[in-house]
């Protein structure tokens, strides 16, 4: 059967003729002869085809392909052998214009033209791969001319997968080559490709949303082109003015967004944001994020001209028409108020989803330009007189999923450390200093030198009532063994206090660094209080009020049916009217954002533990800012505020009183506290363990290599799993959702949260105890949070 090995049939079967590969040490002269011979044979057939009338047969094409394959093998051998003087085959290829002849013939082969096209793509790819100085090839007319003609002929063509693959590979190679040798870029702007046309880029655009390896390679190549555009005006203006890449990308985002699930099946009360695992489970979302990250990369590398156009299209082609309506579908402009509970429920579910998407987007982008477009869209853009941010703030009240995801979104927004966002949410209301008693204003900048604030915070710790005397038998049977209760007594969720300090220090330092480029100091002097905006404070109050009413009316489904619809309808236009007429009300306030957060905090005892985790985490994040106006409001125990202003200390103080009073009315609180603590500790540990082996998240392909990574992760993986530092913070560590843990620790309110099967301890009277359990969990969290705040106060004081 030996004869079969060299038979053309077999070669054609395998598609690529590598069977008769000559030995490595073959004679160059013999190789050259063989090369010429193969070309002769191929040329004969080509001539026959060109001269003949019948056109090419399958045998003809097969024979040409086989000969070309042999020639390629010989060329590779020659190029690999190195030695500049011995490039007989290559020289022959160029001097005989073989590439030109192939191109001409392929256009005559009719049905089989794609086969020859594929073969040519392979030749170019091989030459670029193996030629020792590939860039010199580009200067060779017999190489470049047919290459450009071939590429131009590919425009607007639809190819089978194998040709697409080869074409994109070749384009990618060319881009790499040009990136290394940008001086040859002009060679690709020739008359033959059309005036001012950059054929490589035009060919890449259709593949930009393609999934899989081809799309990946095309996007890579495109980024290289965009990078080249930074230094080449001709290329930049071609991409910006003549290519349609920006609209293609922006509308691509819109298209992919519309394919995302509009409602999520949220199984857990705890869920508040997308984890990498969630993303992996939603292929549409994965696809969307890849596209968004690509846009981020485009903005990062491209010429300012292209960048500006890209941002413009993202704004007008994606954010305004697609994301805006998704976020605002509950407002009058976008929906007809409906009294149907299912419609309401659906709408709220969709709002939860779109809010969570937005939060994820903010974690996925890192380019300042792109971030600015997203942030401006939230803060500045109006939809029928309503801004997205006002709507989002109004959703901070309530006890629903929507509130959870909204808090999570604000957490991410504040984590951007963007001055404009903080100005809008917080400082706008504080710079005028009217929230502080006049006599106290110069104390805003005071540092807490001797730890008094931390002392006060720690003193707010919940008083554990002494266990009442019960029958010794029942207490020993029904409770934990004394040994384990001993060991638990000192269990802190966060290790010792020192760990809180380390976390606080890191968080304050990171925040301080990230605010390095801020314009104002927000210390009561800069900006000067008198230049502060005169705010129609009345409308803010109304916003907060309205939010509370709205959440009662529409969000919690139990209430809304009781509320007459007309009332809500009447209310809304009224509010709009009032806010549009500037009222110079003198009641000082701290703005709707802080106001709603503190209100929400007052409800801590009835909030779910998960909501409390989110809420306390957000306030802790705010407390890491060093700007005196905010710091004094949150952590200065002795500053005297206007009576209308609620301070964090006030809220904490009243919470402590209520917690103490509540717990003192119940038996066995000490035990329950230990159990709650154990529950939270176990939960934290299982979260930490789960995180140790997370799904390997798809690393951001287009992650910027130079910067950005340190300040803020560019991929979802970064922002969700920051490793040790993040793990140390209780609020964040406890709040990360892992589905793996859901079975083991079910939500508190429905079932007995804490079961010690070993000790046989169970909560007997479930319904009656569920409230108590929630309060106990709240007390534990409250205590730990006080430590976190005290640590922040200490670290601020020692700066």
């Amino acid at each position: 059967m030996n004869w079969l090995r060299n038979s053309p049939i077999r070669v054609s079967l395998r598609g690529r003729g590598t069977t008769s590969s000559p030995p490595k040490e073959c004679d160059p002269a013999a190789c050259f002869d063989s090369f010429k011979h193969h070309w002769q044979q191929a040329q004969n057939i080509i001539n026959k085809i060109q001269g003949g009338t019948e056109g090419a047969t399958q045998d003809d094409i097969l024979s040409v392909v086989n000969n070309l394959d042999q020639m390629q093998t010989l060329l590779v051998l020659e190029l690999k052998r190195g030695g500049r003087e011995e490039r007989a085959c290559l020289d022959f290829l160029l001097s005989q214009s073989i590439l030109d002849q192939l191109l001409t013939s392929s256009s005559l082969t009719g049905l089989y033209s794609n086969i020859l096209r594929l073969e040519q793509l392979k030749v170019y790819e091989m030459l670029l791969t193996h030629a020792p100085q590939q860039q010199l090839l580009l200067t060779q007319e017999p190489f470049l001319r047919p290459l450009l003609r071939l590429l131009t002929s590919c425009i607007n063509e639809c190819f089978p997968a194998d040709i697409e693959k080869r074409l994109i590979l070749l384009l990618n190679q060319l881009c790499v080559c040009l990136t290394h040798n940008p001086e040859y870029l002009d060679l690709f702007f020739t008359e033959s490709t059309g005036p001012g046309r950059f054929v490589i880029f035009s060919l890449l655009v259709p593949y930009v949303h393609r999934e899989g390896g081809v799309g990946h390679q095309a996007r890579d190549a495109m980024l290289l082109c965009l990078g080249l555009s930074k230094k080449n005006e001709a290329l930049a203006s071609y991409i910006a003015d003549k290519s349609n890449v920006c609209p293609v990308l922006a509308t691509g985002l819109s298209g992919l967004y519309s394919r995302l699930p509009r409602k999520l099946l949220i199984e857990s009360e705890e869920w508040h944001c997308f984890t990498p695992d969630d993303v992996i489970e939603l292929p549409e979302l994965t696809h969307f994020l890849a596209s968004l990250e690509f846009c981020n990369a485009v903005v990062q590398v491209a010429h300012p001209l292209v960048q500006a156009q890209m941002l413009e299209f993202v704004h007008h082609g994606f954010l305004v028409p697609v994301v805006g309506p998704a976020l605002l579908q509950d407002s009058e402009a976008f929906s007809i108020a409906s009294s149907d509970p299912t419609v309401q429920r659906n709408m709220v579910d969709e709002l939860v989803t779109s809010t969570a998407y937005l939060e994820l987007f903010f974690r996925s982008i890192s380019e300042p330009g792109l971030l600015k477009v997203f942030l401006r869209f939230i803060v500045v853009d109006h939809y029928d007189g309503e801004r997205v941010i006002d709507k989002l703030i109004s959703r901070l009240s309530g006890k629903t999923q929507l509130c959870m995801v909204t808090i999570s979104l604000f957490n991410t927004l504040i984590g951007l450390h963007c001055e404009d966002v903080m100005l809008e949410l917080v400082f706008k209301y504080l710079t005028c200093c009217t929230h502080v008693m006049l006599s106290q204003r110069k104390r805003i900048k005071d540092m807490d030198v001797y730890c008094r604030s931390a002392e006060r915070l720690l003193a707010l710790s919940v008083a554990v009532p002494r266990r009442r005397k019960t029958n010794s038998s029942s207490s020993s049977a029904g409770s934990l063994s004394s040994q384990s209760s001993q060991s638990l007594r000192h269990v802190s969720l966060h290790g010792d206090f020192g760990a809180y300090l380390v976390t606080a220090r890191a968080s304050i330092a990171a925040t301080w660094l990230a605010c390095g480029a801020w314009t104002h100091a927000y210390d009561g002097e800069s900006p000067p209080p008198r230049t502060a905006l005169v705010l129609p404070t009345d409308s803010n109050r109304n916003l907060a009020q309205k939010a509370t009413e709205e959440s009662l009316a529409s969000v919690s489904s139990g209430y809304h049916s009781l509320q007459p619809d007309s009332e809500v309808r009447e209310d809304s236009p009224l509010v709009t009217n009032r806010s549009s007429a500037p009222s110079f009300h003198s009641t000082p306030d701290i703005g709707p954002f802080l106001d709603l957060l503190l209100r929400q905090l007052e409800n801590m005892m009835t909030n779910s533990v998960y909501l409390n985790l989110q809420l306390t985490g957000l306030i802790s994040r705010l407390a890491a800012f060093s700007q005196p106006l905010l710091l004094s409001l949150l952590l200065n125990h002795s500053l005297v505020f206007q009576p209308s202003v609620r301070s964090l200390f006030q809220v904490l103080g009243s919470l402590k009183q209520r917690l103490d009073a509540y717990l003192s009315r119940h038996d066995n609180v000490e035990e329950l506290l230990l159990e709650a603590r154990l529950f939270l500790v176990c939960r934290e540990e299982s979260l930490a363990n789960a995180k140790r082996h997370p799904h390997e998240p798809a690393a951001s392909t287009y992650a910027p290599s130079t910067n950005g990574g340190s300040r803020r992760g560019t991929s979802i993986a970064d922002s969700s799993f920051k490793g040790e530092a993040k793990r140390l913070s209780i609020s964040s560590a406890l709040s990360v959702l892992k589905r793996a843990t859901q079975g083991a620790f079910s939500p508190v309110r429905e079932q007995p949260a804490i079961e010690y099967s070993a000790n046989g301890f169970r909560l007997a009277k479930r319904a009656e105890n569920s409230e108590l359990k929630n309060v106990v969990l709240c007390a534990v969290l409250f205590d730990e949070w006080l430590k976190e705040l005290a640590a922040l106060a200490l670290e601020h004081g020692s700066e």
């Binding site: 960048q307 404009d420 931390a454 002392e455």
Partner: protein, 290 residues
């Protein structure tokens, strides 16, 4: 009981500190074999770092409760001292270097390079000993390790800090002021209320002889500059003769640190004369397409 918080203070301080082990002075004197100078052992508390809780409970405090009784006491001490040290660093008092001991935040090692006055050229070591319930326990003590003949320094080395700070007012007084007071006491000799009568008398009666005694202290301090550390505390300030092989790279690093400014990052589009978000005029770079 929390895990040795004082250690953390010491480390964090050492990191923040601009203290440099290299001084410009390079005394030619050859190091004598180890000579313990007594008082160092005396000032180290029996159990370094953690104040005896029993003692803490007894102490009266302006805010009884947390600070005195709980596990947080040591943290509060530490965090009351951190700003003190930061202030001292900020003052950059000429010729004086201080670093808290690694084992306790309550003792700071110090060394003063006297640049003028009767003691010019002297390199004197001292310890600042801070009361356990700082800022409430009165004035920190300053104890000199170097032998000094000075009206305000007792023969045992205790500096008469009470002369400057009769009563410690925590709202007015800070440790940097103590250090600066000590520095000034070497420039202009104050013979009033002396703790070394002989020195005071000599300063007033026989100025020449006093100057000679001061010179003696200077040369003695130079002779002992390379003495081995009398304590095993790693933050004790010790000196080595300058050796370009070991020290040159470090010195370059210190000098180069000053010039390299941190590239401040952050997001802000707020114009300097505005308090409106996104008030920076749209620049040609970000958005110039119409």
């Amino acid at each position: 009981m929390p895990r040795s918080p004082p250690k953390r203070l010491a480390h964090s301080l050492a990191m923040d500190s601009s203290f440099s082990p290299i001084e410009e002075e390079e005394p030619e004197a050859v190091a004598e074999p180890l000579k313990r100078q007594g008082s160092v052992r005396k000032v180290l508390p029996a159990t370094p770092g953690v104040p005896d809780p029993a003692k803490l409970v007894e102490r009266t405090n302006s805010l009884p409760g947390i600070r005195s009784t709980s596990q947080y006491g040591p943290y509060f001490t530490e965090y009351s001292l951190l700003p003190e040290y930061n202030m001292l660093q900020g003052c950059a008092i000429p010729g004086v270097y201080c670093v808290p001991a690694a084992n306790t935040p309550l003792m700071w090692f110090g060394v003063i390079f006297v640049r003028q006055g009767p003691y010019v050229g002297g390199v004197f070591r001292f310890n600042i000993v801070i009361p356990e319930n700082f800022p409430d326990g009165g004035c920190p003590k300053v104890e000199f390790q170097s032998k000094l003949f000075h009206p305000q320094i007792s023969p045992e080395g205790d500096f008469n800090i009470g002369r400057g700070f009769s009563e410690w007012n925590k709202n007015m007084h800070h440790i940097w002021q103590v250090v600066d007071y000590v520095r000034k006491s070497f420039l202009k000799i104050d013979p009033g209320q002396p703790v070394n009568e002989e020195a005071a008398k000599m300063y007033k009666m026989n100025h020449e002889k006093f100057m000679a005694e001061a010179k003696k202290c200077v040369s003695l301090s130079i002779q002992r500059i390379y003495d081995l550390s009398p304590t095993d505390d790693p933050h004790y300030i010790s000196f080595e003769p300058f050796d370009s092989k070991t020290h040159e790279s470090l010195r370059e690093k210190i000098y180069s640190q000053e010039s390299s400014s941190e590239d401040s990052r952050g997001l802000s589009w707020v114009a300097s004369n505005s308090i409106k978000p996104f008030s920076v005029p749209i620049s040609g770079v970000i958005q110039n397409s119409s």
